[in-house]
């Protein structure tokens, strides 16, 4: 009995180890951030870029419109690449684009907008990067599609033609 049990348990253990490692081989070890959507937008007081006023986010995002919150910065290279898409989206009446200037200086940001155009309806000035954390963002660039005070879609990284088409389908 004992002689039979030993080879059996050894093969059993090896089979389990083999399965675990074989599955592990196919698992990606690069973490892709979980897109938590359908979350309510955070309520917080934010500084505005143009004026020195502080407003609540609820005043910026009204419930009956579609909004695109775009986190950008003048020092961020991919932001330059996606800017033309934002300019194009600006032409739509049903979508309002809100910018969030992330860890930037006002001067550099102004130059950036002068050079490439200003697609933003309003700009939130996030000098410390803390608002972005409250929104659950990872960095720049990042865009949130907001409807009825809820985040319905999240784009991590620069917008591309694929996401552009998707946003357009939401507008229709």
């Amino acid at each position: 009995m004992k002689n039979k049990l030993l080879p059996f348990s050894i093969t059993f253990i090896f089979v389990i180890i083999f399965i675990v490692f074989y599955k592990g081989l196919k698992d990606t070890n690069i973490y892709t951030p979980e897109s938590k959507i359908n979350n309510e937008i955070p309520l917080l007081l934010v500084d505005l870029f143009d004026t020195d006023k502080t407003v609540n986010t609820i005043e910026i995002f009204q419930s009956d419109k579609l909004y695109l919150l775009n986190i950008w910065s003048s020092w961020c290279v991919p932001c330059r690449a996606e800017h033309s898409i934002l300019i194009e989206l600006k032409n739509s009446d049903r979508l309002k684009i809100i910018g969030m200037n992330y860890k930037d200086t006002k001067n550099n940001a102004k130059n950036f907008l002068e050079e490439l155009g200003n697609p933003y309806d309003k700009i939130i000035f996030d000098s410390k990067g803390t608002y972005a954390i409250e929104w659950g963002a990872y960095g720049v660039p990042e865009s949130f599609l907001i409807s009825n005070n809820k985040v319905i879609k999240k784009y991590i990284g620069p917008l591309n033609t694929e996401s552009f088409e998707e946003i357009k389908s939401f507008i229709k």
Partner: protein, 121 residues
Amino acid sequence: MKILKLVLVIFLIFPINALKADNEVLKNKITKNLRCLICQGQSVYDSDSEFANSLKIVVDNKINEGLSEKQIYSYFQSKYGEWILYDPLFNKNTYFLWLLPLLIFFIGGAIIFNKFIKKQK
């Protein structure tokens, strides 16, 4: 008498310092248990990325607002998902993970008991 006064002064000053240091200790403890999501394999405490630096400020703000350690963890969990915590919470997805070492310990103990202690008797 002089010494007694000195001791009293030190005794009075010390708790105030300790209280100030307490927040710093708590902040370090929390940031060490938060994963920096954009720099893999580093905690927020270790990292100097833009994301981690902003997160440290938010942790500081939350402590000053009077949130407890647990509340801060659940706050970040609601924003970024459970992956941001290094110490996974005890729930139905992780109970196997938490109980496995205990299980192995008991099985090992049973084997040792059977093999050696029973034989000696």
